[in-house]
Amino acid sequence: MAVDIVLKVENVSKRFSRGEMHDSLRDFIPSLFARLTGRARASSTARKEFWALQDVSFELNRGEAFGIIGANGAGKSTILKLITGIMQPTTGRIELNGRLSALIEVGAGFHPDLTGRENIYLNGTILGMRRAEIDRKFDAIVEFSGLADFIDTPVKRYSTGMYARLGFSVAAHVDPDILIVDEVLSVGDIVFQNRCLEKMNDIIRSGATVIFVSHNLRAIAELCPRSILLEHGKVSAIGPSQDVLKTYLESSGQEGRRARSKDLIIAAVKVRGSHSEGVAFNSGEKVWVDVEVECAGESEPFSIVLFVNDDRQYEAFHTSTEYLGYSPISMKPGERFACTFEMDLNLAGGTFYFGVLLYRFNVEKIVDRVFPAATIFVNTLSEVRGVVNPRPAITAFGRVADIEPAKEAIKQ
């Protein structure tokens, strides 16, 4: 293995058997007899098996931050368990070069009856630290967690957030060569979440290799230059994160319709730019959203509402035909109605979800709703981070006065 490659995953496949295995001898002994007498139930066992991963290969260089994305059940957790050694691949090889620490489930080794202090030692050794090392880092761990006042309280009296904070604090101080992070940043309050992200950035900067598994596509795009996309256990894309995220959104964008009424139906929602119809756009680009409504039966007048959520499902904004000065739409059975919204896509980089509602403002009633009607990815910019892109610019930059007089002023 080359010196600067810290992880090598080669043609790895993993097979699971569905449902219960022989959990008791009562089931096991008959099946053993069946096997011995040659009446192997090949067909029934074959049906019970499935491949969680098939022929997955990738390599990680030292100091690289690497993202793993995919829908639920695509095999993300399985590949992490294989890398950490919790499970063994059915076929293929995994080579690891260095100390690995995994934030798969923070605080997994905690015991509720032990105090915070005792759990730091317990969890620290579970994660691979020596006791002397924990002695050295103890104060830093406590400080980072912000739980100094509760450190001698049994963790069963902790809140969920406190529990997670202590867990993350211990794990973040392991100083691993390879750090695996699986969706743990969704814990704790916003201040602690930011501290976690900062700490992760520190770890990346210190030269550690990071594998980041998340549904937070914006975080992946910001932290990881390179990613892999898993779909039903197979690698469907690997390469620069922007490209991989695009592939992911294209394959998973068209889901989530939920009709409320049979009479009025949102028939189609399409987002297009000046160059293309698609999922990836540049910030500030002009886009058009085409909405088509079909009327099947009797209906009351309604307005069309368009809303856009960010990847944490906070609304970025919403607008409607009503707000834009159009009176409610009346439709007769068999009619089709089209409406196009035009807008400047002043959003910061990340994933955004478009949703459409048919809404009766006078009675505050939702007639039909489609969400997500479309998912788009706004290419990450260097000048803004967050949700919106108000196109900031600097109009003054330079020294205007010495700071000393100001200090004098404070003293008086």
Partner: protein, 267 residues
């Protein structure tokens, strides 16, 4: 890679994580006596119950045969009862050592033999605490010490090796089949009748050798001989136990490591 180099690697990994072994054993002890009024007294009380039962049985026997019960016999039952309590406790608690920690088995990687080994360590500590009983009994019965006491660490070491080998097998077997847990309970309940705890093998005359086939028997008898009677243990039988213990230990570790890759998905 051949088996022996794999085993060597596994041993090295275990040695590298010795701090974890210590912490898991410490946790087991700490948890066991946390929120209990008696705390560490339980470590003495449980073996004391076995010893008391033994003394009652022995008293009944002596009443039947008309031979009065001697101080030496009481001391002998104390020693044997303590060793039995350690051995039975090790096997009993090893059955839940892996399945009682599903989070650690499925979420984090570590050499999993640490769990049964930690059980053995915590049982050893209990055994150490309970050994104060022996001191009390010896003070009361005014028994002395002899050079034969030098056999004690050797015999105990073999006992621990035997318990460890079986604990490894039981903990792994329980993970795959929960039945094993109940099987172990049943076997432990009956094993006290085929292990010379409440009696001595000599009482059975020509059947004595059959009883000594139980690998724990020569060890328990040997400990009684060298502690209470100041005589050497029956060396050929101790050698037999030693061989069984080594085979159990090596075999237990080998099979444990062989089955380990399937632990996370089978628990």
């Amino acid at each position: 890679m051949n088996n022996s180099s794999k085993m060597r690697e596994a041993l090295q990994a275990l040695v590298a994580r010795r701090d974890l072994l210590y912490m898991i054993a410490w946790r087991e002890i700490k948890i066991r006596y946390k929120q209990s009024v008696m705390g560490f007294m339980w470590a003495i009380l449980l073996p004391a119950v076995i010893v008391t039962a033994g003394i009652i049985v022995r008293y009944g026997m002596s009443a039947l045969s008309g031979k009065p019960i001697s101080g030496q016999e009481i001391a002998g039952i104390t020693v044997k009862g303590l060793v039995w309590a350690f051995f039975a406790g090790s096997l009993r608690f090893s059955s839940t050592s892996l399945i009682g920690n599903p989070n650690l088995v499925t979420k984090i990687y570590m050499p999993r033999e640490i769990f049964p080994l930690a059980t053995i360590l915590s049982q050893l500590l209990d055994f150490g605490v309970a050994s104060s009983l022996v001191v009390v009994v010896f003070a009361v019965t005014r028994l002395g010490a002899s050079w034969q006491l030098l056999w004690v660490p050797v015999l105990l070491l073999i006992t621990v090796a035997l318990a460890t080998g079986w604990a490894l097998l039981i903990s792994a077997a329980c993970l795959f089949f929960r039945d094993v847990k109940y099987l172990v309970e049943v076997v432990i309940t009956f094993a006290i009748f085929v292990t010379p705890v409440f009696y001595d093998v000599e009482m059975f005359k020509k059947w004595a050798n059959l009883l000594l086939l139980n690998p724990l028997a020569p060890l328990i008898e040997g400990l009684e001989k060298c502690i209470v009677y100041g005589t050497a243990p029956d060396l050929p039988w101790v050698a037999y136990s030693c061989v069984v213990a080594l085979v159990s230990l090596v075999g237990g570790f080998y099979f444990f490591k062989r089955w380990e890759p399937a632990f996370a998905e089978s628990i």
